[in-house]
């Protein structure tokens, strides 16, 4: 491959990876925008989502890469798996909110954040124990078709990931911008107390935000599994931290910002690994995180949530 082809190829890879981060970052941003809470449990919801998708795909009789589907059956299987994963992850997020975070809502300081760390640890270790810490082979029913565009290989897999991610993000954006519930969500993010006085059911809005964020995290988990062909208890942590960086980079609380941040972080990871060294990729990403927070806390696109103190 020529130099420019390598570069373009890494861009393709980076965008795919970035789509996963962006989906995950949206959950951070939704919850932070409304509750000003960094939800560490989100890391684990993503990971659990990957395993839910794995189980659903296996239930269709797909094991490893042996079974390849085409046409309508492929679309149907993936769609069913996606919907089940999103609903299950969303429900998990709602349960986490209802039983561990709602009682903490009016507690000041780092208490609620510590609770989310605890929840994350519980999920993480349950999966670790259940899988014996092994990486599990993720079913891949997609045909290995690929397209060569000017020396760059784009796999069918990637095209599907882009389409699904874009659809989910556009859907979320429309939901937040156009629907009544989305408007209520933005109102709560601005001022929960005022929104409550205007008749907004804040608990309901928070629940919807957790559901939507967690459902997207589940979708991201499934995409991750399909893309890398494995699922493991530890995937939540690395991906979660990068997605959080993406949310901060884009401007936390800002929905388009999370998408932009995800893509940027995905590109930095692939290009950084290509041109600097993979082992330093994390250092680069965390330096961006710290640098953004220190020098431009509002992120690239600015914070939409006001700075309540």
């Amino acid at each position: 491959m020529t130099g420019s082809a390598i570069f373009l190829q890494q861009i393709v890879n980076g965008v795919s990876l970035g789509a996963v981060y962006a989906l995950l970052a949206l959950g951070f941003t939704l919850v932070y925008g409304i509750l000003e809470l960094i939800n560490f449990a989100h890391f684990s919801v993503f990971m659990v989502g990957a395993f839910v998708a794995l189980v659903v795909l296996q239930a269709f009789g797909l094991q490893g890469q042996s079974v390849v589907l085409h046409g309508a059956p492929l679309v149907l299987v993936l769609l069913v798996a996606l919907v089940v994963t999103m609903v299950a992850s969303g429900a998990l997020g709602v349960m986490i909110e209802r039983y561990t975070l709602r009682p903490m809502r009016n507690v000041k300081g780092p208490m609620a954040m510590i609770t989310t760390i605890g929840v994350s640890y519980i999920l993480f270790n349950l999966v670790l124990l259940a899988t014996n810490a092994q990486a599990i082979n993720f079913p891949d029913p997609m045909p290995a078709a690929s397209y060569h565009v000017g020396g760059v290989v784009i796999r069918l897999k990637e095209i599907l990931i882009w389409i699904v991610s874009a659809a989910l993000m556009v859907g979320l954006n429309l939901f937040v911008k156009r629907t009544r519930l989305g408007k209520a969500m933005r109102a709560v993010a601005q001022d929960a107390e005022a929104a409550r006085m205007m008749g907004v059911d804040v608990d309901h809005v928070v629940m919807i935000a957790f559901f939507a964020g967690s459902a997207l995290a589940g979708a991201a988990g499934m995409i991750f599994g399909l893309y890398y062909n494995f699922a493991q208890y530890s995937i939540g942590y690395t991906a979660g931290l990068r997605a959080f960086t993406a949310a901060v980079l884009g401007g936390i609380g800002n929905v388009p910002g999370a998408m932009l941040g995800g893509i940027v972080i995905g590109l930095i990871e692939t290009l950084g690994s290509q041109y600097i060294a993979a082992r330093w990729a994390d250092v680069i990403i965390f330096s961006i995180l710290i640098g953004t927070l220190v020098f431009r806390p509002a992120g690239l696109l600015g914070m939409l949530a006001p700075n309540r103190s």
Binding site: P110, M111, I114, G118, N125
Partner: protein
């Protein structure tokens, strides 16, 4: 456990001495090296927990990269006590060789330097190196809001082990440092016997325990807790919040660095994975279990979790497996409970947060209730001593500087597109009382927030006693003698009445961390005097607060909380006292009582700026009344004149009332 906190100090001292005596003879009980080793590890984690408790428990900063400082201290010792670095020998090394910090290996041109910096030197040096990293890392990031800090420290905690893994020439990478030399005393190496390490560990815990216990009820400890409880109010009380947070962060890092050196000297090897995120989380679980902010809790939490991992889970696993073998259950005989320890950590975090946020050993309130005789004495002495002290402070300040007059000129404040204050000018003459009134949302609190540095105005000037206040931090403004109360009361809810008012004296106390830990005479006298002044101030409110000095302010009535907040503001010895609706929530009798007291402040020489809704209080007190409406000055003048002003009546009651 709760009962332990309720024991008298004397009984607690006895319990402590008995436990300490047991710990001192423990190695002679002949329970085997393995148990002594477990005990030494308990000590290491207790030391770590004490450090994190300062950061998270006292100051309320969630630090998820704490293990990074542990790593820094560990590698500092490891690198300087192994064969990892071996620069070529030159005569410049000779002085270090003479004091035993390095040794010369080989002869001639091939000779290299072998580092052998003594353990006892490295203990404080590692603490300082780690604290230095804490300062370097904390200085830019501690300005951030608390929840951002968590994620930034998490990032830092990731970066350090990665750097350690990748910088092989310095750290030997993922393989880790090997052959780290053990400590020695007078040429006798500690070797691999656990007992000397146990005693060193115990000594370290006692030292850090002592430091924590000394700092907690001091000027520094109170400032930390004030930041934890309400950072804005802490700044308004004169606490330089960034600097104090940095001190907490550096101190925690120092504790971790020192412990790292101990830990690595004991293990004689260091690998990067010993300092990954799970270690930071484990220490966090320890202090959450023990009780955030509880010094004894940190130690007990650390010991419990270490015993859980090193002793209870393996024993239980063995038991369950034996049972499994007996009943031929392959599931039970293969069950490895030790791998579930992190699951247990998660469960502990969630359970404690939901059901017992104070931990198993709740942080003690360091206040002792006054005896009835003392209460009587304090009340019957009355407010005179406080009055004297305050008027002396005012007199000193006035002779020292320009008169305490406030001059606001053309002040404009904008929030986005909204203009909250439009070109407001007002004067508060030295020794005068000026009241600001106006409907809700007219900009009164914004005016207060601009004067005290919480809001940055778009234009205008605020001059107090010859100082331009715009652009100063709240704590700097307080140092110029401007103190305030808040409309919605911003006390430090989990602290006592005594602690709240003591925090008001922050800028007038001089004790630094060193003096506090050493318990210097000056520090103790200063603290005694500060407490006396609190009693004198509280005596201004008769017996309303004196019997309650040991109570958390959250338990007080609304009116009493207002009084505590005023006492806290007075404790700063201000020249300009700004009261934001001081009588809100008080009945008419209480309101007039407070009005009398405020009039008394003026007689001391204080200048008072007041926001108040109760017009009888305003009429009683104010020389001059300023009426704000929609951010503009509607009227100004003596109270009875302003009361008849048509525009004012319209703003307050509406046009219909004027016509009627």
């Amino acid at each position: 456990m709760k009962r332990f906190a309720a024991l008298s100090p004397r009984t607690r001292q006895m319990v402590f001495l008995v436990v300490l005596a047991f710990l001192l003879v423990f190695p002679f009980l002949d329970t085997g090296q393995a148990n002594i080793d477990i005990a030494a590890n308990c000590a290491a984690y207790a030391a770590l927990a004490l450090g994190l408790n300062i950061v998270v428990g006292f100051t309320g900063l969630l630090d998820l990269g704490y293990a990074a400082f542990f790593a820094i201290g560990a590698y500092a010792y490891g690198i300087l006590n192994s064969y990892q670095l071996h620069p070529a020998w030159s005569s410049a090394w000779a002085p270090l060789a003479a004091i035993g910090f390095v040794a010369k290996l080989g002869v001639g041109a091939a000779a290299t330097v072998h580092f052998t910096v003594p353990f006892w030197v490295m203990l404080p040096v590692s603490a300082m190196i780690a604290a230095g990293f804490g300062v370097a890392f904390g200085a830019p990031t501690l300005r951030l809001k608390g929840d951002y800090l968590a994620i930034v420290t998490l990032g830092f905690g990731e970066i350090v082990p990665i750097v350690v893994r990748n910088w092989s020439s310095l750290t030997n990478g993922a393989e880790g440092l090997n052959g780290v030399a053990p400590p020695s005393v007078f040429g006798h190496s500690f070797g691999i016997n656990s007992t000397p390490y146990y005693y060193v560990g115990l000594g370290i815990v006692l030292l850090l325990l002592f430091i924590s216990l000394r700092l907690k009820p001091s000027r520094i400890g109170r400032a930390w807790m004030a930041i934890r409880e309400d950072e804005i109010a802490a700044g308004a009380m004169g606490i330089h919040t960034t600097r104090l947070k940095l001190l907490a962060f550096a101190m925690g890092a120092g504790f971790a660095g020192l412990t790292g050196t101990f830990y690595i000297a004991k293990l004689q090897t260091a690998t990067p994975d010993m300092f990954d995120l799970p270690v930071s989380i484990m220490v966090l679980v320890m202090i959450v279990l023990g009780g955030l902010g509880s010094v004894w809790g940190a130690i007990i939490g650390a010991v419990l979790l270490q015993l859980l991992q090193a002793w209870f889970l393996p024993e239980l696993s063995a038991l369950v497996q034996a049972l499994g073998n007996a009943v031929h259950s392959p599931f039970l005989s293969n069950l490895e409970l030790t791998s579930a320890s992190e699951l247990i950590f998660g469960i502990i975090l969630v359970t404690m947060m939901l059901y017992r946020r104070d931990g198993i050993v709740p942080a003690s309130r360091n206040e002792v209730r006054l005896s009835f005789a003392q209460q009587d004495a304090a009340v019957s002495r009355g407010a005179l001593p406080a009055v004297e002290r305050l008027s002396r402070a005012c007199a000193q300040a006035t002779t020292a500087g320009a008169p305490a007059a406030l001059a606001v000129r053309d002040l404009t404040v904008k929030f986005g597109g909204l203009t909250a204050l439009k070109s407001i000018s007002l004067d508060v003459p030295a020794g005068g009382i000026v009241a600001v009134i106006g409907p809700n949302g007219s900009g009164k609190s914004t005016l207060f927030n601009s004067i005290t540095g919480l809001v940055t105005p778009a234009a205008g000037s605020i001059d107090f006693a010859g100082h331009q206040l715009i652009g100063l931090r709240p704590d700097q403004i307080l140092r110029h003698g401007v103190a305030r109360t808040f409309q919605n009361i911003r006390l430090f809810p989990n602290l006592t009445v005594m602690e709240n008012v003591l925090i008001g004296q922050h800028t007038h106390l001089k004790s630094g961390p060193g003096g506090i830990v050493l318990g210097l005479g000056g520090v103790r006298a200063e603290e005694r005097e500060a407490r006396e002044f609190v009693l004198e101030l509280l005596a201004m409110f008769g017996n309303r607060l004196i019997p309650r000095i040991d109570q958390g302010v959250a338990q007080l009535s609304y009116a009493n909380r207002r009084r505590v907040e005023i006492a806290r503001a007075l404790a700063t010895r201000p020249r300009l006292l700004m009261l934001d609706e001081p009588t809100a929530g008080m009945n008419p009798a209480e309101s007039l009582e407070l009005a009398e007291q405020i009039a008394g402040f003026r007689d001391l020489g204080l200048t008072v700026l007041l926001v108040e809704h109760k017009l009888d209080v305003v009429t009683r007190l104010a020389d001059n009344v300023i009426v704000l409406d929609y951010g503009e000055k509607l009227a100004e003048g003596p109270a009875d004149v302003v009361r008849r002003d048509e525009a004012v009546i319209e703003a307050y009651i509406g046009r219909g009332a004027v016509n009627a």
